[in-house]
Symmetry: C2
Subunit: 330 residues, 2 copies
């Protein structure tokens, strides 16, 4: 990060540097990154403390990585082994040993950033645990074509729900309906957005899987049915700004009069169950129940532009940057 953004993210906020690869300290490993993720949360920490502490100018943009271990302390992972980790937008990353994890050898390698990574697991536990979803209910997903959203909507469909997706374009919406089995879709940029959403949810909204927050949430809230549930997965509408927009209505009052639950969660809460979840996600994909949408860019220099495009609503599915070919055997 070259400087802290003031207003919408732009290329001037990034800088590319070539520096020597440092030897890792005793409690860290040196990774050669194969994939780095491009996720909206990176924008949030550029602005202030969010999922992690605020990023400082000159620091590396943090991201999930899929990587090959180059060097590790005694008792650490084998050099050459493939791991996931909390790294950054770098060709090589030095990562504390406590922040890497072995990959279950299922599915395609890139899926460990998406379907089998944080995004897939967020969709999985959000729908399976937080939403308390029942068959026949109506689920609305915002950011429905995004990395988390396109999987959350499909998992809701698999659970027997009516799934209504909100995105920012007709092109994305057609993909959701035709390829992913969404019941209906609504374009949040349409002038008739609120009316369109109400028409798509004639029995009200039982579960709102909220990836975006902001003005879209204000449109969905009045449509929630009694005992509805709001799964707070992300607030991307708030990330690309100096400060979050103010609420337009009082959230607590809406929660009270309809007995709503609003619950945030971190995928890390479910760590002991990640393996089970990954096996089920992979099986659903193999059975044709889950379609994975991926958008893989190439080379580290493509990462800033991909993040800017994502924040402007331009991406579909899991966005990642490939830095190296898959290792043998994947």
């Amino acid at each position: 990060m070259a400087e802290r953004p003031s207003g919408p993210l732009a290329m001037r906020h990034f800088r590319s540097e070539v520096v020597p690869v440092p030897p890792p300290p005793a409690d860290a490993v040196l990774l050669r990154n194969i994939f780095v993720s491009v996720a909206p949360g990176a924008r949030a920490v550029m602005q202030g403390a969010a999922y992690r502490r605020q990023l400082l100018p000159g620091e590396v943009i943090p991201s999930s990585v899929i990587a090959e271990v180059v060097a590790a302390p005694p008792g650490g992972p084998e050099p050459g082994s493939i791991v996931g980790g909390a790294g950054g937008w770098q060709e090589y990353s030095v990562v504390p040993t406590s922040e890497i994890w072995p990959l279950e050898r299922v599915g395609e390698l890139s899926h460990h950033l998406g379907l089998l990574g944080r995004n897939g697991l967020t969709a999985y536990f959000g729908i399976r645990e937080v939403a308390q979803l029942r068959a026949g209910e109506t689920v609305v997903v915002s950011g429905a074509a995004g990395g988390v959203g396109h999987l959350a909507g499909q998992l809701a469909r698999v659970a027997g729900a009516q799934v209504v997706g909100i995105t920012s374009s007709a092109e994305k919406n057609e993909i959701l309906r035709r390829q992913l089995g969404y019941t209906a879709t609504v374009n949040r940029r349409s002038s008739s957005f609120a009316d369109d959403l109400r028409a798509a949810c004639p029995a009200g909204v039982d579960v709102y899987f909220d990836n975006v927050g902001g003005p879209v949430r204000e449109v969905v809230l009045p449509l929630l049915a009694r005992h509805g549930r709001i799964v707070c997965s992300g607030v991307t509408a708030h990330y690309d700004a100096d400060r979050p927009p103010v609420g337009m209505t009082d959230i607590a009052m809406q929660l009270i009069v309809k007995s709503l639950r609003m619950q945030g969660f971190l995928v890390a809460d479910y760590l002991p169950r990640w393996g089970t979840a990954q096996r089920e996600l992979h099986a659903l994909q193999e059975a044709g129940e889950l379609t994975v949408l991926e958008d893989i860019r190439h080379g580290l220099d493509s990462a800033p532009g991909a993040l800017i495009e994502m924040l402007a609503g331009g991406n579909i599915g899991q966005l990642a940057v490939r830095l190296a070919p898959d290792p043998p055997g994947w």
Copy 2:
């Protein structure tokens, strides 16, 4: 209500009228009110749709009542029987038969508006069900000396929690600590409010029982511990204004990064369990575990001033207006 308030509630927004008592229609009863409640929710519906539709100028201020049945349709309650109901600030109320309920013959009559009425039941189900409270946890109650708050804090204490109360005066706080067994109290009008609250909750806040919303919630939110719970019971800070104040921070982001649950509820959600709850509340009071604070005013003309005082933070405990003596046998 003489006119819709614009800004803080004042006596000019009320008007007292003497009108003939109408004969009740076939599906309604005529009640002689013994007690009418004074509750912040009345202010909310004077402004707009909240717990019920917006009140119109010329309509009667709605309230819970404890009343004697004067006339009822065939098959309805016996004339002379004592009931609770959704009435208003009137000496006599005509109430649909579906909106009255028999009173369990336990405790003092006035307690059926407080300890055994909506306030007590709201405290009971909020602590017992919504909060998912565990012994040893820290509970913060706002509006802690109010009709709901002073019971919620005590029920949390009975469940083994550390209970920290927030009120608007040192006088109320002393009552909470000395008479009700609160662990600590904080004055929200103190210039050191945020620091005082942090010092009173050294291990963070596990449950926030929120009766007030508004700026107090913004001070409590950063203190919540991981997996904390916010029980949305009321938003009195928002009631005495033309429109609710805007949020100072994004609530969803705070819910996400700490995996918080925010849940609204209505006491009506637990209707089948009211009887059980009332018997337990009464038993706790008989055993000296629950102290009931009551503030009983006399005569209908005292109601508007009592509501204005309550909204300004002037009341302690359950506020009600007595219109008639207790009937024989109570």
